[in-house]
């Protein structure tokens, strides 16, 4: 290879080139001497005729074709040498870049894993999901209308799944998985210790085969495991096997008690496989076949209930199948299935069943709840990180410009000696790219630490033990991203200095000697400072808006008083083998034992407590009201409570009475409603004494309303929405419903998952004591957590907290960088104008006016920056409206505040060079002229 040889024998080639030209030169001289010119004159003449030998050489090198690579190496070496020569500059630049690139890469690490990654399965591109809505976890009825949109099905009943699986030739395989999760208590058979809590998920027998996943150990499910009467088996996730069982190989094949039922663990799923659903609230530790659901849940099982949609479906397309055609086919099947249940439908469902439809969506990434929950926030963070990077770029561009000015004469000499402008520009760019590559390498380390910090902030700050499969370790894609960002930033911040270099006029520089030249650079530097000020303002105001929003969220009125309240979460006693009739005494005992603790004022339990992450709802009918139309919203949330609940949580009764000890199994069925319920169903009438019940109309007389309580915010979302209608029924009363789904809920709701404890004096060891009492009552009860209620509320806003904290962090970094930039430019300007200032002072300007002059200039730049930044900041506010709560994007007070903050930072940084300018000794400044 000629070019390779040329590259490696560079020195030899250089020598040849030199020899060749010298030969020419000497021959020419010899000719001249021969024609009678004295030798010294001949040499002089020849030299003039020859022109710049170095230029000729450079031209030849360029023609030789290896110029690119060869000189690239040369230039890289040159750039490194330059950087080594100014360690202070290099260190500053590398640190700045490491921060900028690190921040961006850290966010990208998360973006990639949460938003871009496919499931670790075979051919994820062939997987399609039936449905495109992120619904969870159960849906009742034969219509899935939501938000006014005609039924778009995303969750399915077991019967519909079986039908689709049998009748869809376009699919190689169709698997089903539970849309929600199943809390489990697991312990090895024969052991007497308390059960380990675990997260379970029911899946169809072909689940692993459909995804193309094979066992790490043992075997995974086959269809035979998913038959009624098959021996109960379960598969463990790799993560649970590793974390909870220390990768013990004897787990496989062993018998375990899962919620008191005997299961055999037949295998461990491969490392990295966390199921088909990414959530932030817990990934499955244990998979169980769908057919074991009745074994676990008895009468409350959903598998045979055609009205309960609780399965996500994911299928593998047969090669060559058109997804569009498949979608039409499946829509037909859905219609066929609905038609077969016409007799079971309510009048409302009958009116809309023909409008029910479904859509396919790509399933290669699984059912990513994580993606839905976090994508907006991550994009926002990505945006802020990019802003920081921009500010960092501007800073380095500024540094390079200043350095370029210092090196101006050097550049001029190089141009004069025959360096081509192209080469000089390339040199400048190469230097900046080299710099940014070093910065990028350091940035990867920053990114790793940063991603860990973010994960910690997002998921572990509140002692939450939820494990999510997001790692801080950068992947290849992340490293490539960092490389790309580094090169791009290198080019971006290198362009201005390179452009300046290419316009270097050798003559001017030589002539200029000590005088200031190149006003254009000044202009560029100022523009950069202005841009920095503007971007910093955007960052700071975004941080302020998000911080304000978080404040508003945490300190809004939730309708109850979290102060002095504690929330304990336990697993279902029914799953711990309690009989229905044992539940009321169990909770009575828990309540009594906890109340007996010192300084506890009140204890009460509920199916679910406010902000505990649960919500049960269904349609209701009010006695004496006409049957609602299909479009009318008649839904209400409900929960079961024990007496004294409202006192315990600190909510006020508005009318009537609360639920008390007399509301027991022998009394009439009563309910307390909230204000929103009263307004929704009774407008201005007095609701106390009226009757209602869950749909259908036959149940309308079930409950008598005995009181109205203030609205309590229960769900962990929708803080901007109007309060949801809700009713409360006593734990001690059970209704017999004809509809199996209502009956299942009726029984299931008697598992009170949450216990609220009111201890207004904040006793120190409350959490420990509660745990101790609960395990004394029954060591088999699965204990999830005891937290103070303010912690629970704080935990609800983890994500907002993380975003606000990070944006503050980014805002602070941006501010510091911008301040450094302003300082650099001002100080440099002062240095350049030293003699001018000397003249001014000699002519009578006092220190004050010199300081004012320097500050004026700095403030001009910052003011223009603010002028651009303020509209940009409120524009950004509008873009992130969806992230804001109680904060308006156009917020003059907030903008003024951030502007003042930025202004004071600018003042502080500009005062230092201004004072230095004022201390100029006129004599000295003039003498050095």
């Amino acid at each position: 290879m000629g070019w390779l040889r040329r590259l490696f024998f560079r020195e030899r080639l250089e020598a040849d080139l030199d020899k060749e030209l010298r030969f020419h030169f000497e021959s020419q001289v010899a000719d001249k001497v021969r024609s009678g010119i004295p030798e010294s004159e001949a040499r002089r003449l020849t030299r003039i005729e020859f022109g710049g030998i170095e230029q000729i050489k450079e031209d030849c090198r360029e023609r030789r074709g290896t110029m690119g690579l060869e000189s690239l190496l040369q230039d890289v070496r040159y750039a490194l040498r330059q950087l080594r020569k100014s360690p202070g500059f290099t260190l500053t630049a590398v640190l700045t870049l490491a921060l900028g690139i690190g921040a961006t890469t850290a966010i990208f690490t998360l973006v990639q894993q949460v938003m871009l990654q496919s499931l670790p399965v075979n051919r994820p591109d062939q997987l399609w999901r039936i449905g495109d809505q992120p619904h969870c976890c159960d849906w009742a009825g034969y219509s899935q209308d939501s938000d006014g949109e005609a039924g778009n099905w995303s969750l399915f009943s077991w019967e519909a799944y079986k039908l689709f699986r049998a009748n869809t030739p376009g699919l190689q395989a169709l698997a089903a998985l539970q849309a929600g999760n199943m809390p489990l208590g697991v312990r090895p058979s024969g052991s007497s210790g308390p059960p380990d809590k675990a997260n379970g998920q029911y899946v169809s027998g072909n689940f692993f085969q459909t995804l193309g996943v094979s066992a790490w150990r043992g075997r995974l499910f086959v269809d035979a495991d998913d038959l009624e009467g098959a021996p109960p088996v379960a598969v463990m996730s790799f993560h649970a096997w590793q974390e909870k069982y220390g990768s013990d190989p004897s787990v496989v094949g062993s018998a375990y008690q899962i919620n008191g039922r005997a299961f055999t663990i037949i295998g461990v799923a491969p490392a990295g496989f966390v199921g088909a659903k990414m959530t932030s609230w817990g990934l499955p530790d244990i998979w169980m076949p769908l057919a074991t659901e009745p074994l676990m849940l008895g009468k409350t099982a959903r598998i045979k209930n055609t009205r309960t949609d609780w399965l996500d479906l994911i299928g593998r397309l047969r090669p060559g199948t058109n997804p569009k055609a498949l979608q039409v086919h499946l829509q037909g099947e859905l219609q066929g299935w609905l038609a077969s249940h016409l007799a079971d439908m309510s009048p409302q469902e009958e009116a809309v069943w023909q409008k029910q439809t479904l859509r396919l969506s790509p399933g290669g990434a699984g059912f990513s709840i994580l993606r839905r929950d976090y994508s907006e926030s991550l994009l926002l963070l990505m945006f802020t990180a990019c802003c920081v990077l921009l500010v960092a770029c501007a800073n380095i561009a500024n540094l390079l410009l200043a350095r370029g000015l210092k090196n101006q004469r050097q550049t001029a000499v190089r141009v004069a000696l025959g360096a081509s402008r192209r080469r000089l520009v390339r040199n400048a760019l190469l230097e900046s790219v080299t710099l940014s590559l070093i910065g990028g390498a350091a940035g990867v380390a920053v990114a790793w630490a940063g991603a860990r910090l973010i994960l910690y902030l997002a998921f572990h700050m509140l002692e939450r033990s939820t494990w999510i499969p997001v790692q801080a370790t950068p992947s290849t894609l992340v490293l490539l991203f960092a490389l790309g960002v580094a090169v791009l930033t290198g080019v971006i911040f290198g362009i201005a200095p390179a452009w300046m270099t290419s316009h270097a006029e050798p003559v001017e520089a030589m002539r200029g000697a000590n005088r200031e030249v190149g006003g254009g650079r000044h202009w560029a530097q100022k523009a950069l400072v202005i841009a920095q000020a503007a971007v910093s303002l955007v960052l700071l105001s975004a941080a302020a808006m998000l911080g304000g929003s978080l404040q508003n969220l945490e300190h809004q009125n939730f309708g109850f008083d979290p102060d002095g309240r504690y929330l304990a979460s336990i697993g279902s006693p029914m799953l711990a083998n309690y009989k229905q009739e044992q539940l009321v005494p169990l909770y009575r005992q828990i309540q009594d034992r906890l109340s007996a603790l010192p300084r506890v004022r009140n204890v009460s339990a509920a199916t679910y407590a406010p902000m505990a992450g649960n919500q049960w709802g269904h349609d209701i009918r009010v006695q004496g009201k006409p049957e609602p139309g299909p479009k009318d919203d008649v839904s209400a949330d409900w929960t079961r409570i024990t007496p004294g609940f409202f006192d315990t949580i600190g909510a006020r009764m508005l009318a009537g009475r609360a639920i008390n000890e007399d509301d027991n199994a022998n009394a009439r069925h009563v309910a307390v409603i909230n204000q929103a319920f009263a307004r929704k169903f009774f407008e201005n009438q007095n609701p106390v004494g009226r009757h209602f019940g869950p749909a259908s109309v036959g149940n309308a007389g079930t409950y008598e309303i005995v009181g109205v309580v203030q609205n309590i915010h229960y769900v962990t979302w929708g803080f901007r929405d109007p309060a949801r209608a809700m009713y409360y029924i006593p734990q001690a009363q059970t209704v017999q419903f004809d509809q199996p789904d209502l009956q299942s809920d009726e029984l299931w709701s008697q598992n009170l998952y949450n216990i609220v404890i009111w201890a207004p004096e904040h006793p120190a060891n409350m959490l420990m004591q509660v745990k101790k009492v609960l395990s004394e009552v029954d060591p088999n009860l699965v204990m999830y957590d005891v937290q103070s209620y303010s912690r629970v509320i704080q935990g609800t806003f983890d994500q907002q907290n993380m975003i606000a904290s990070l944006t503050w962090l980014f805002g602070a970094v941006g501010l510091v960088l911008a301040a450094v930039g302003l300082y650099g430019v001002t100080a440099y300007g002062v240095e350049q104008r030293r003699s001018e200032i000397g003249v001014r002072m000699a002519l009578g300007a006092d220190r004050g006016s010199v300081v004012a002059m320097v500050l004026r200039e700095a403030f001009w730049q910052v003011s223009i920056g603010l002028g651009i930044g303020i509209p940009a900041a409120s524009g950004t506010g509008y873009l992130m409206t969806s992230q804001l709560f109680g904060v308006t994007p156009w917020n003059p007070l907030l903008l003024a505040g951030t502007a003042v903050l930025l202004g004071s930072a600018a003042l502080v940084t500009a005062v230092i060079p201004a004072r230095k300018a004022a201390s100029t000794d006129p004599m000295q400044a003039l003498r050095s002229e």
Binding site: E20, L21, F23, H24, F50, I56, D59
Partner: protein, 116 residues
């Protein structure tokens, strides 16, 4: 530097052709190429070193010329250029092209107005 009127700049690409033509007579070094061109053109064409050497290196890179170091007439080692077979073909083709082009150009330039 004095400038004589009967010297003129070569059109782009012509220099390559001239160099190859001169080299076609046999191995020759750079200085001699410049001299030969000057001689043949009766001093009308003077090839500058700044154009000659980059052109030689380019032609060598394109494998139209090859080179060898050997002693020159004065005894000093010089780099002698030779046409490669690829260069020879190239020269023939380019010479033909050149002749056709100049014929056409002069046909048009010398044509009378009536002819148009």
């Amino acid at each position: 530097m004095k400038k004589t009127d009967d010297r003129f700049d070569l059109p782009q690409g012509t220099l390559d052709l001239l160099i190859m033509r001169v080299v076609a007579f046999g191995p020759i070094h750079g200085y001699a190429i410049a001299q030969r061109i000057q001689q043949i053109s009766r001093d009308a064409l003077q090839v500058q070193q700044g154009s000659l050497y980059p052109a030689l290196h380019r032609l060598e890179y394109k494998k139209l010329l090859s080179s060898r170091w050997k002693p020159s007439e004065t005894g000093r080692e010089a780099k002698f250029y030779e046409l490669t077979s690829k260069g020879r073909t190239h020269l023939t083709v380019e010479t033909e092209n050149w002749t056709r082009l100049t014929d056409l150009v002069s046909l048009i330039l010398e044509g009378t107005l009536e002819g148009i």
